[in-house]
């Protein structure tokens, strides 16, 4: 366990950006290296990945549930239609973008702590 002795991160000094909807200076805690709790940071990274996967699995299951109910209310048998569906090239490209974003999110834990594997003090 080696998360100790880290102080809260100070935000950038100066006037707070009350008028900017997406100030660049926020999110230091969630976008920085974060914390590591195991003897090897890889364990932390794997758990982050599994949690992201689990959240995504639930999100998809939930959407599927909603979608099938919505379609059924319109008299559409989605399960049969989905199996019969053949995507266009455009659709496949769009799905690829979504898939790559998902993979990037899964691997974010490994990328954000790339240099702290030896920080076990």
């Amino acid at each position: 366990m080696h998360g100790e002795a880290r102080q809260s991160v100070r935000m950038k000094p100066g006037p707070h950006p009350q008028n900017s909807p997406n100030p660049a200076s926020i999110g230091i805690e969630i976008d920085g290296p974060g914390r590591a709790y195991f003897d090897t940071v890889v364990t932390d990274n794997i758990i982050d990945m599994v949690m992201e996967l689990a959240a995504e699995v639930w999100t998809v299951r939930d959407r599927q549930y909603v979608m099938e109910n919505v379609l059924a209310s319109q008299g559409i048998d989605a399960a049969t239609l989905i199996e019969a569906h053949r995507p266009t090239a455009e659709e496949m490209a769009a799905r690829r973008i979504l898939r790559e974003a998902f993979v990037a999110r899964l691997l974010a834990g490994f990328l954000r702590r790339a240099d702290v594997a030896e920080d076990k003090s």
Partner: protein, 360 residues
């Protein structure tokens, strides 16, 4: 258009996230957090306490060093797992909440602006107000903290929905605390202050409890009081909000019959707290009540697992000031400020202490 400029409607008193996928993702985290707190924390506490006992160390000795607790707890594999899960779910929650509401940030800023000067209550903001450095922390890991994200009000509102595991979707926690608020002995309640009001959930419920009273909510953070005011105005609740410092309140001596404070003190540097207590004393009239629901402080015994958790929360959930508060003699500070200090009624949240401090 529904509250906060969104169009997916309401979830209790909350605006729904911008997309179903955000809502599903955050609901997953809400359920995940529930298991972490209601099942995994007790299991972690039992494992940690067993390690302490195996080392011949007492569980009821407040002098037991935190470092000793940490050393023994670390031997149980569930402990770093619990820490990892807690930190990760909190990061994931803020990341998705900010991204979801951030997708409609401009609409939300328009929504806030539309209510800035709307009644029935007032929003008071001094354009020259300077946020002190100590308040500008990403408390609870929230991007921008309370102070630096202009849509921080709605982000905080949904974040606390997950934090309370859905148990506050109707402001029921704040309603309970307002119901438990002890009025002055003479029953006279004409003016009430919600000190550190954040998004005004308590402020609104205090108005419901004391409908004839003038109610003020005060907070250091503009994003919080703007959202609080817009919400109250949309609900047509006549409460007032002001961006100001608890240690330097722009209110007359003796104005208030009740000053209500829900979990503000553990988010203040301990060096600031005497000045806040002096101000609360000043703005209360003789016989007025300072009603406080707060983290435990020095006079209360805490099991080692709770000390471990508070320390975790401080270091890894950006609560930089809570250890200072938890280890301080808060009731002694209240007495030193001139208050007569007594126990208040306890809420369903057994972690919180309840204090009623009376100005003689």
């Amino acid at each position: 258009m529904s509250e906060a400029g969104l169009d997916r409607g309401q979830l209790g008193v909350l605006p729904r996230p911008v997309r179903l996928a955000d809502e599903s993702y955050l609901e997953f985290l809400e359920s995940f957090r529930d298991v972490l707190l209601t099942r995994m924390f007790p299991a972690m506490a039992a494992a940690g306490h067993a390690r302490l006992q195996a080392a011949g160390l007492p569980l009821d000795d407040d002098a037991l060093a935190l470092a000793t607790i940490q050393r023994e707890f670390a031997k149980a594999p569930i402990v770093p797992s619990w820490q990892r899960f807690m930190r990760s779910q909190q990061e994931m929650m803020w990341r998705r909440t900010r991204a979801s509401f951030g997708a409609t940030a401009e609409a939300q800023l328009d929504w806030l602006a539309a209510f800035d000067t709307a009644g029935p209550g007032r929003l008071v903001v001094d354009p020259d107000f300077a946020v002190p450095d100590y308040a500008r922390r990403e408390i609870h890991l929230q991007p921008g903290g309370y102070t630096d994200d202009p849509i921080g009000g709605i982000v905080y509102h949904y974040g606390t929905k997950v934090f309370y595991q859905g148990g506050n979707d109707q402001d029921e926690l704040h309603a309970e605390l307002a119901a438990l608020t002890t009025p002055p002995a003479d029953g006279e309640v004409a003016n009430v202050l919600d000190l550190g009001c954040s998004i005004g959930q308590g402020t609104i419920k205090l108005k419901a409890r004391f409908p004839e009273a003038e109610i003020w909510g005060l907070d250091v953070a503009l994003p919080m009081v703007r959202y609080a005011h817009a919400r109250a105005a949309q609900q047509q609740v006549a409460v007032n909000f002001i961006q100001a410092l608890a240690e330097d309140m722009p209110f007359d001596d003796g104005k208030f019959d009740i000053v209500f404070a829900y979990i503000i003190f553990h988010e203040l540097p301990i060096a600031i707290i005497p000045a806040v207590l002096a101000e609360a004393f000043r703005v209360l009239r003789p016989g007025g009540q300072f009603v406080i629901f707060e983290f435990p402080s020095a006079s209360q015994h805490l099991p080692p697992a709770h000390r471990f958790m508070i320390d975790y929360d401080s270091r890894d959930n950006c609560e930089p000031y809570s250890p200072g508060f938890v280890h301080a003699d808060f009731r002694g500070l209240l007495a030193a400020a001139g208050f007569i200090v007594s126990d208040g009624p306890l809420s369903r949240n057994s972690f919180l202490q309840s204090i009623v401090a009376t100005r003689p």
